[in-house]
């Protein structure tokens, strides 16, 4: 056996030894009761499975951009005040409000409200830090926002990339449940803002609100994959109640069509429609407002 091979063999033996003798609590695995050990291995398997799940719903930016596109004006009074940042306690409320601030950030960035965007980013940074999330929403990103104030697209990219990275950080640190709450918070806030603007009966906004049934179903399916975990229990119940209202919507399944536009880009269409009555829209507005207030209240 050559010298380098002997070293690598020795290293492998030592590393296997290191990996096998330490449990997360520092106890020897052999000293743990068999039941606990089985539970640990089931929990590890569950966590490994969760790591492999791909999940996505449209970002709050996509909701906010329609509001801007339809000619509505920005109103900072609709947002959750950043004065509340330090007052939120408990992982669930902090995570949901981190998502809510993320949606408010996107809304401010879409409307090119530079100072509001900066304030909300700083607020989100504090809340992330309170949740134990470090080195994601960094001071460098705030400096980058300051440097790119003149470009709305740059602001949007910095905000979206930062939140995607934050969700990645949570997933890789076995806190995917917290990431799910952040995403849920952002989705609730984007829907809440849309329902306020939809009060003047803009058909495109109402259609977009109806289409949120897809995102809601996807979000609930994702949360179900975690099983009955304490941190998601309340949010799942709340979203399930909203889903019951959405179940009153009418969906007509149609066929997908494909063509190419004049520049050769694929254009995908469908005759599938999803509609909601005025009564259902009102019920969604009322419920989402209550839900948002429940999570933003101190």
């Amino acid at each position: 056996m050559t010298r380098s091979l002997r070293i690598i063999t020795a290293a492998a033996i030592v590393s296997v030894g290191l990996a096998s003798c330490e449990s997360p609590t520092g106890q020897s695995a052999q000293q743990q009761p068999p039941v606990k050990s089985q539970l640990d291995s089931a929990e590890n398997a569950r966590r490994m499975e969760l790591q492999k799940i791909f999940f996505s719903i449209p970002s709050p930016v996509e909701m906010a951009s329609l509001i801007k596109e339809k000619g509505y004006r920005f109103d900072a009074n609709m947002l959750n005040s950043t004065d509340n940042v330090t007052k939120y306690t408990g992982e669930v409320k902090q995570a949901v409000n981190l998502g809510i601030y993320g949606a408010d950030l996107s809304y401010a960035a879409i409307f090119d409200e530079k100072q509001v965007t900066m304030n909300y980013f700083a607020g989100a940074q504090k809340l992330a830090s309170n949740l134990g999330i470090e080195n994601v929403l960094t001071g460098e990103l705030i400096e980058s926002l300051e440097r790119n104030q003149e470009s709305r697209d740059s602001l949007l990219n910095i905000v979206s990339d930062a939140y995607a990275d934050l969700n990645g950080y949570l997933k890789e640190n076995d806190r995917a449940e917290i990431s799910a709450l952040v995403v849920a918070g952002g989705w609730i806030e984007a829907l809440y803002l849309s329902t306020i603007y939809a009060k003047d009966s803009n058909p495109d906004l109402i259609k977009r609100i109806a289409e949120q049934k897809y995102a809601l179903t996807n979000l609930l399916d994702y949360m179900d994959k975690f099983g009955d975990v304490e941190s998601l229990r309340e949010m799942k119940k709340d979203l399930q109640a909203l889903k019951e209202i959405y179940n009153k919507s009418e969906e007509n399944k149609g066929k997908t069509t494909q063509s190419k536009d004049e520049s050769g880009v694929v254009l995908i269409g469908t005759s599938t429609t999803i509609t909601i009555s005025d009564e259902t829209l009102k019920a969604i507005e009322t419920y989402v407002s209550e839900l948002r207030n429940k999570y933003t209240s101190l």
Partner: protein, 146 residues
Amino acid sequence: MNTRILTTALISLALYLLPLSSDAQCRAFTKNRCLPLLEGYVQNDNYNSAMLVPGDEAELLLTFYGGKEYRLALCAHPILGKVEYEVTDTSGETIYKGNSDSSNIFDFKMANTQQLIVKLRVPVQQTTVSAHEGCVSVMVGSKELK
């Protein structure tokens, strides 16, 4: 002798930490290698990356809004080979097929809001060497229709 002990200790530490760092590498891989594929688009703020091994299959249900232009980019670590992906509608009708090697970007416009499914499959490697895991990211970016 001391050098040998130090080398052994460093290699041991590296081997011990390797599984812990793979997910962190996936996040860094996504940021450094995949995010640039969405240039000109605003990234969806979800994190769609995972460490997969040969033979793994995954599925992602996505909602795309009408009146928007999208870019879907599959980004996979080369160690996994050609990761194949297929975009279908919810009834299973194929819209696009590609792989991480030569056709990893799919640009399209949505006339109406619709849910689409992205199915991906990591090829099984014909080798006697043990399977390696690698990062796979499904990147989604959007922009307004001009």
